[in-house]
Structure formats: C-alpha cells, structure tokens
C-alpha cells in the first residue's frame, strides 16, 4: 500500500517536472522561464533525495535552485527580459 502511494507520488512528480520544463520552453517572459527552471531543479533535488542521494540533493537544491536562478536573474536584468527582443 505504502509502496503504491509512493509510486504514484513519483509519477505525479515526474509529470510536474516535465510540465515545468515545457512551461520553461513556452514562456515568453524570461524571468518566468527561469522560475520554472528553478522549480524543475527543486523537483530534481527531491528526486535525488527519494533515490537516497542526500549529498547530491543538497548540492542540487543549493546550486540548481538557488544560485543558478540568482545568476540567471542578474544576467536577464543586464539584458532583455522578453524572449522576442
């Protein structure tokens, strides 16, 4: 029973993750796309935790979800915010 619940949860997370990635692909506003990227990274960190890799989960959460997002946002601030420009 517990295993089934967990399996369903993983499937739901997978769907969410891929949906986040597709969103990042179609958003025209780059800041939104970057937030979607951070969301995908956070889910990846959760996956690493579920796969019993706490070290990697920590690294992915701090690098992928926090630091990368900050660098992206700074770079977008220096350039154009909309994808079309």
């Amino acid at each position: 029973m517990l295993a089934t619940v967990q399996n369903c949860m993983v499937i739901a997370l997978t769907v969410l993750m891929l949906a986040g990635a597709v969103c990042a692909c179609i958003f025209k506003d780059l800041i939104s796309a970057v937030i979607a990227t951070a969301f995908v990274s956070l889910l990846a960190a959760l996956f690493f935790f579920l796969l019993h890799a706490p070290d990697v989960a920590m690294a992915e959460a701090s690098i992928g979800a926090a630091l990368t997002t900050a660098i992206f946002v700074i770079a977008i601030k220096k350039t154009a915010r909309s994808e079309e420009e």
């Binding site: 706490p54 070290d55 990697v56 690294a59 701090s62 630091l67 900050a70 660098i71 601030k77």
Partner: protein, 231 residues
C-alpha cells in the same frame, strides 16, 4: 525545416537511450560482486578512510583527483567570467536604490546565520550529508543576500581572490604531502581518529575546509563580478 531535423535527431537519441536503459533495469543490484568499485567503497571506506559518509570518502579520497579537477573547473569559470566582463576603466554605475529597512535588517540578521550553516556543513562533510561544495555554495548565497540586501556591503575582491588562491594551493599541497609521505598523490596519510567523530578521517576535513572556502570565495566573486557590471 530546422526543427524537423532537430526532432528527428531527438527521436534517435531518445530511442538509443531507451534501448540502453532497457538493458539496465531500475533498482537492480548492479554492484553485487566484490570486485565492483561501488561495492568495494561501501565495504571498505569506513576502515580505509575513516569517513562515515561514503560519498565523501569517494569524492575526497578514492576519486580525489576528480575533485581537484572540479575545483579547477570552478576556478576557470570564476576567472573566465572576470576576463569576459573585464573593462579597462571602472565605470561608476548609479548607486543602487537602498532596500527597505525591514529587508535590510532581515538580511543583516540572516547573513551570519547562513554563514554558520555553510561552515557547519563543510566541517561535517565526513559525518553527515553535505561537504565542501554544498557548504561553499551556502556561504556564497549568504554573501549574495548581504550584497543585495545590505546597501553598505562592499565586496573586497582582493580578499576573496586571496582566499581562493590560498585554499586552492592548500588542496594541491595536501596532495603533494601525501606524495612526500611516501605514498601517492592525495593519499590520506594522517591518522584516521575515532570513527564518526568530528576529528576523524585524516585529511578529509582539511580538504573539505579548503574546498568550502574556495567554492564560497569563487562563487561570491563570480556573483559580485556579474552584479557590478554597470548596465
């Protein structure tokens, strides 16, 4: 046309990956026999390295040479970013609008706590999850917060460059010391101490402190360089 070719290529790559993955079923015990590296690390790491966290043992001792390379990659990124964004004359951008009082106070209050968390994580790399990289990134994110939130915060690049340089050299020197102690490069030549205590695992904590300081300094410098680039 362009996206059609892209989709065909992607289909080929996806098919190839699917074929490969069907050959390695998820969750199978692929390291069942003792001569596999992963099994060896799990069985022997506590005795051979004295580290309770096997991932740390692999990162710092068994595959320590990779870690040296990885630190170098980050060093290259920090220096390369500084080089790409270099300009001859420092232009004074208009001073940024100071953040609101609440935000400033909050940032200045959180900053030391985040630093302490980062230092804790890289000090305990051999006991708990985490290590030099994770701790270093947390330290850097603390500086990022302070840099954005506290208006009077100025990052002194020279200090960070010096830390980075010293910590990197310390890593190489620790490796050389193993060579000089009659073993091989990056050998864990120090006493292992009591298992599962802070002062154990030989050179692992020393190297992780060096990595933590270096990663923290590099990422802080990297962010500061990007932020200071006048618009």
């Amino acid at each position: 046309m362009r996206s059609l070719i892209a989709v065909i290529l992607l289909a080929v790559i996806g098919l190839g990956l699917a074929l490969c993955l069907s050959d390695m079923p998820f969750g199978a015990n692929h390291i069942a026999t003792a001569e596999k590296a992963g099994r060896h690390y799990l069985e022997k790491a506590p005795q051979e390295t004295g580290s309770a966290n096997v991932v740390t043992a692999v990162v710092v001792t068994y595959r320590g040479f990779d870690t040296l390379g990885e630190v170098t990659v980050l060093f290259i990124a920090a220096i390369g970013l500084g080089m790409v964004l270099y300009r001859r004359k420092k232009q004074e951008g208009k001073p940024p609008q100071p953040a609101s009082f609440v935000l400033q106070t909050g940032c200045c209050f959180l900053f030391p706590l985040i630093l302490i968390l980062g230092v804790y994580i890289f000090l305990h790399g051999h006991l708990t999850p985490g290590g030099g990289f994770q701790g270093g990134v947390i330290v850097a994110s603390g500086f990022l917060l302070a840099y954005i939130g506290c208006a009077d915060m100025k990052i002194r690049h020279r200090w960070f460059e010096a830390t980075e340089s010293l910590a990197g050299s310390a890593f190489v020197i620790a490796g050389m010391a193993g060579l000089a102690a009659g073993g091989s490069f990056l050998m864990n030549f120090m006493p292992k101490g009591n298992f599962n205590t802070l002062f154990s695992a030989g050179i692992i904590p020393i190297i992780y402190i060096a990595i933590g300081l270096k990663v923290g300094a590099e990422l802080t410098g990297l962010i500061a360089n990007l932020l200071e680039r006048a618009e």
